[in-house]
Point group: C2
Chain length 262, copies 2
């Protein structure tokens, strides 16, 4: 891990660990990879990993912990998964029961942590290429939609693909496809372009998650597989116990986004 990534990542994780920061992480440790989090009992972990393996676009796994381990050494040298995320969600039987800033009090030795790639990484690459990302320019959340595209089921995990949408003029859409294709570990190339109804989206103005953004007449909506997909399939299974990050409050790693490019 390059020095800059390690220094930036650790600085932010120490602030979060100390409890002095508990908000959304967008913009923190600029250039570092941020990750979605899913923490599951070991009994479900193998099926979930099989689900991710079969659905790499919505579920690109950056790291899987040893059962019970609180470290993710391939993502950061000094990381405690119980304290280093600004805000968590604790779920019991599918019900959100708590949104703590620390999960030491509910930690168990059979928990397996999954760090899953996040679109922040490829959006940074788009912005660096001078391509406007609409929801960033408007300061709102990306619009997300449940589609009619099924995921490949594995064990108890199944459900529809959720996509995020970013509108671009056609030449920028082509560039965006080329750029994001270089980042398979953070959702990679889009899954659809231009014809929302063909994937079961009736009204772009009414996303299932996030905020609507305008699409101009000379633009095409471009759809990427979304990290909300694994969260929604986990929610469907209603495990007796699991944890995730709170929306927008991601795990900050020491990896640099540029290192993910193939």
């Amino acid at each position: 891990m390059p020095h800059i990534g390690r220094r930036q990542g650790l600085t932010e994780r120490l602030r979060i660990r100390a409890g002095t920061f508990a908000g959304p992480t967008a913009g923190l440790a600029a250039g570092n990879v941020q990750a979605n989090l899913a923490i599951l009992p070991a009994a479900l972990a193998h099926d979930f990993l099989r689900f991710a393996q079969a659905n790499p676009k919505p579920c690109p796994v950056l790291a899987v912990s040893e059962p019970g381990a609180t470290a993710l050494p391939t993502l950061a040298a000094d990381l405690d998964i119980r304290t280093d995320v600004p805000r968590y969600r604790v779920w019991r039987h599918g019900e959100l029961v708590e949104e703590p800033t620390d999960i030491r009090h509910v930690w168990r030795d059979d928990l397996v942590t999954f760090a899953i790639g996040c679109s922040f990484s490829f959006e940074e690459a788009l912005v660096e290429h001078g391509i406007e990302v609409r929801h960033i320019a408007r300061g709102c959340n990306v619009p997300m939609y449940r589609t009619s595209i099924p995921t490949v089921p594995a064990g108890a995990f199944f459900g529809p693909l959720v996509v995020s949408m970013r509108p671009f003029r056609p030449a920028d859409a082509i560039r965006a496809i080329q750029i994001t294709a270089r980042y398979p570990s953070v959702h990679g190339a889009p899954v659809h372009i231009g014809l929302p109804e063909a994937i079961g989206i009736r009204d772009l103005g009414r996303p299932d998650y996030g905020d609507a953004v305008p699409v101009a007449a000379d633009e095409l909506p471009v759809f990427w597989a979304c990290g909300v997909t694994p969260q929604s399939v986990i929610a469907q299974v209603k495990p007796e116990f699991c944890m995730t990050h709170a929306p927008g409050c991601m795990l900050i790693t020491d990896l640099r986004n540029s290192s993910l490019a193939v």
Copy 2:
């Protein structure tokens, strides 16, 4: 050059050189790179090469000969540019004066040969990936359109970008963008997708060159920069003398299409 490419290329060039084949080259020496041809007096060659450098998508140069030379050693070990193309077009002051199968009788020591990448190479890659290319499936010519997109002028050479169009369903369009982006020396990624009117194309059913193909309601038209662009800018200049290949009758090289992938 791999053995298979050299053997296949030479076999076809010898047939063509002997005058026993004078037709379109599509499908010959499968897997070998075929090239568009432009042969210009040395006085125009530098400006044309500058034009190509400034417009690499419509004008991807595979090789430029020494002035007066009949060989292109980087494309094939045994190649005589005066005899090895099935059919040529000879132009004087912008008028087509002859379509011979051999240009030894009009050869001059000041001629510079340009071999320019051709979409056959990336179409082969699409077909190998299992993506249907409409005009190939229908056995007709690809539809081509003059656009409202200007090329970057250089010296006497200027004019609108010409594009070829292939329709795909959205997921295949994304794959086609990813695949063709790997082939910058044969036009590379598309220049436009989905909104023909935005680049000055009023009616997809009436191409400026080639044949119309149907575009289904669940498909998007995808547009690539086209090798007809350099031909049309040369035609505009009306040089006192120049030569090209006859449409569809390309130069068969020893290079393999797979070697062009970046």
